[in-house]
Symmetry: C2
Subunit: 497 residues, 2 copies
């Protein structure tokens, strides 16, 4: 989930300063309109790693916004007054009126995460508590309160350095913010915190109130990114541009001009296979896949492969190399084109459910259930609400597969635009392959940035420890094929123990 947050996210001082004035102006305009309309309230929740600068981010918003219409909702250990009432009371007491923005520190998620870490909640109770949160936020959304959830992330080593500094600066006094860290500083505690936080972000990212994870190491980037998220929410609440996205949407410039970190663009597409070793390596990997999928242990497992990627990225070729390693009686390849009448008459996941393999078998999907958040999103075939809720639905779907002992392996095959053009031209030349060129190919190229943004968000929101995305640098087809096979071998070895 949100692996892209580990990419470098920096905003140099000159760019930051160029952004500042127009950003403040837009924030103030939007805030003013919210206050005028009085039809929505906004709750901006700032959560995240300790020492990620939650308080600093909040203070910055106070600088940038008009504080007359701003409330801080900050929660530490309950006061006497709060202790004598239901836990939820303090949040309700502080509920901002329509027209106002509430900035929340240490909110309801924080409490549940803490109880989980302190061992007060077992797995089931933890999930039930998260679902109670989801229901409450859904209710708020129906009642005109827009919930914006920001998770500030810094890596452990950065956090540890900052905390050491904080402790020294405070002369040993623990700040309210520095809560869990000291309690969980053992390696085991860290791992537990990371796991629980990850799960919290996954399970409380709903269609109406998804988390956005923001890289918080660079304070300038962090603050502008938070402001950007608030501005988008304000726009939607005010029925502004973000609410009235054209269908199909135009390529989006991040509205503040903040550069978007992209896991896909960060790939080194120069990666190449050693052409001399390729055939041997391919053969060895295929041999290993074959061994694993015909092993005794595999009979109580199964394999689900999903291939997504740019047009002409080489999905077909990669799939061919995987097929060659599998027992033909035990696998099926499913090409996912436009849905049939039968499929269109049912919920979008049906066409994939009907092709879920039985134990001991494999299914290969050439394009997959991710169509909802890729092509359907970009081409405007479904509404924003539809694709926003789809992330959670897809996570549930894959969780149900994994729970049933199926190993879910997902590939994004990435090429750059030059390579794509070259491959299109090459195809045109080779008449035999002509049928593969459809008018869509051209259209999709124009929408490259939109598809890239959708794919980046998809990867962030649906990579989980049990079914992570594998990004495959595919400008060199051989490199891509070897990486695909190597990934399958690794995942299977893990799963089969």
């Amino acid at each position: 989930m949100f692996d892209s947050v580990r990419l470098p996210h920096k905003l140099a001082k000159p760019e930051y300063e160029a952004l500042l004035e127009p950003m403040r102006e837009r924030l103030l305009d939007a805030q003013f309109e919210l206050a005028e309309r009085k039809s929505k309230a906004i709750l901006l929740l700032i959560e995240g790693s300790d020492a990620a600068g939650k308080g600093d981010a909040l203070n910055r918003l106070y600088e940038w916004l008009d504080d007359h219409h701003l409330d801080t909702l900050s929660y530490g250990a309950p006061t006497d007054e709060e202790r004598e009432r239901p836990l939820e009371w303090r949040y309700w007491r502080d509920m901002p009126a329509k027209g106002r923005i509430g900035l929340v520190l240490g909110g309801w998620h924080h409490r549940i995460l803490r109880e989980r870490l302190e061992g007060d909640l077992d797995r089931g109770a933890f999930e039930a508590a998260l679902d109670e949160i989801n229901r409450a936020e859904e209710m708020l959304s129906f009642e005109g309160v827009v919930v914006v959830k920001v998770w500030l992330h810094v890596e452990d080593d950065v956090a540890e350095k900052r905390l050491t500094k904080l402790r020294e600066a405070d002369g040993g006094i623990r700040r309210a913010e520095v809560i869990e860290w000291d309690d969980v500083k053992s390696a085991k505690g860290h791992a537990k915190l990371r796991r629980a936080a990850f799960e919290l972000v996954e399970k409380t990212s709903t269609g109406v109130a998804p988390w956005s994870v923001v890289a918080a190491e660079d304070a300038r980037y962090r603050d502008v990114a938070v402001a950007q998220l608030l501005l988008d929410a304000l726009d939607r609440a005010n029925d502004g541009p973000a609410a009235r996205a054209p269908i199909p949407p135009k390529p989006t410039e991040p509205s503040l001009g903040l550069p978007r970190a992209s896991a896909i663009r960060a790939l080194d597409l120069g990666n190449r296979a050693n052409p001399d070793a390729y055939s041997r390596q391919l053969r060895e990997l295929q041999q290993r896949v074959s061994e694993l999928t015909t092993s005794k242990a595999f009979e109580r497992r199964g394999l689900v492969l999903a291939f997504e990627g740019n047009d002409a990225a080489g999905k077909g070729g990669a799939i061919l190399r995987v097929r060659a390693a599998l027992d033909p009686r035990r696998f099926r390849v499913r090409g996912v084109a436009a849905p049939t009448d039968e499929e269109r008459a049912r919920p979008y996941l049906w066409r994939f459910w009907r092709n879920v393999p039985r134990l001991g078998h494999a299914a290969i999907f050439d394009r997959s259930w991710y169509g909802r958040v890729l092509v359907e999103r970009v081409e405007g075939l479904c509404t924003r609400e539809d694709w926003m809720r789809a992330y959670r639905e897809i996570n549930d779907f894959e969780h149900q597969l994994t729970r049933a002992k199926l190993c879910v392996v997902k590939f994004w095959l990435a090429i750059d635009q030059n390579e794509q053009l070259a491959r299109f031209e090459d195809r045109e030349k080779r008449a035999a392959k002509r049928y593969k060129i459809t008018p869509e190919d051209g259209r999709n190229r124009e929408k490259w940035p939109l598809y890239e943004e959708a794919a980046d968000e998809m990867i962030d929101r649906t990579s989980s420890p049990e079914s992570p995305w594998t990004l495959v640098e595919s400008n060199d087809k051989k490199y891509a094929r070897l990486k695909v096979l190597r990934t399958i071998v690794g995942r299977l070895e893990n799963a089969l123990g």
Copy 2:
């Protein structure tokens, strides 16, 4: 929850026969329109007590509907094919296409209930599983599948008799339907089943897919009631009368003319207090309330009283008698009139949350958070979706209060229309009370049947073991006041141990 199901629900043969033809015609028309439009599918889940006649009810629908557009989705122990796939696979495989109706026996709720009873799911895991169901059904609803959930109920003694008969008839062979009963036939097992079933119905009654509980002792009533629910769903799916309810709605005739069982109408309003003993009894009860609420144990508890009822039913008078028994420093009375500007600017529960008492204190609400499902529903101040989701929201709210050690006691004060008219006239005569008559009183009288239906549904959907409704026969004010006080004493004695 659904206490009204224990009322006698019978349909005599002549009435049944008079209903049959028009009902079949309407069902077939609606089914035909669904098949023509192909914009929605319907899943009708038939669950409930063993021996409630789930299979019979399903067979009846096959008689009444056109079986060309009807699918049966019946699930017992998984087949070999199903066992080798994710648990959810079999439901997906059978998903009816748009235009079709699927009748589900032994569906997803059944499995979870069984796992809970067999001890495979602890409390948290049970709740998490129910929430997974809720998410799945919400997704189906977004994707054009209308989920209608019917819970057939018979009392334990009736079930036991029927099962004995079945067992004899089958010569000792257990029918597929007779599953849990034999396993849980100890008294403890029964109680556990009842509790788990109750909780399942409460927690999976969502705004998009609420349960309807149907009294199933009388087969004629049962079958027509199920048909009625299906017809309503078809109408909504076809955008028919039920979907286009006028706002404010007209008094509803149950569309098939099936008499509606009403917990409120079943009250014996002739109940009267003994006038000679009244003063003494009142004093004694007030004394007891006073003792209990000033006890040491009460300091770690609290009391939340909600009064609802017909206009002029005597809420004010009853509240006065409760107040007299309470320490004035420790309670507040909250009259709930039209919301203030401040309140209107926030979610509807906010005005109640802000008045939640602290431990050791009491709050009395003269009208309450139930306004959403009473006056707002009947006067068309919110949409059907809004009040349908409110039941679950209110159950969550009261659960949060109860979890925080507050004792929630809810009263419905009932009078009949003659008594109400007499009281209105009496008020008019007594000029001093004139200000109490508002134009709304007259309007509300016209809508009596609508308010009654709303109140009955409210009582059914929000009575829980931890915060049940108490219905108070209030034609005799003295009787009502004593019952109110006696109820408070009983609940407090229970809570304080």
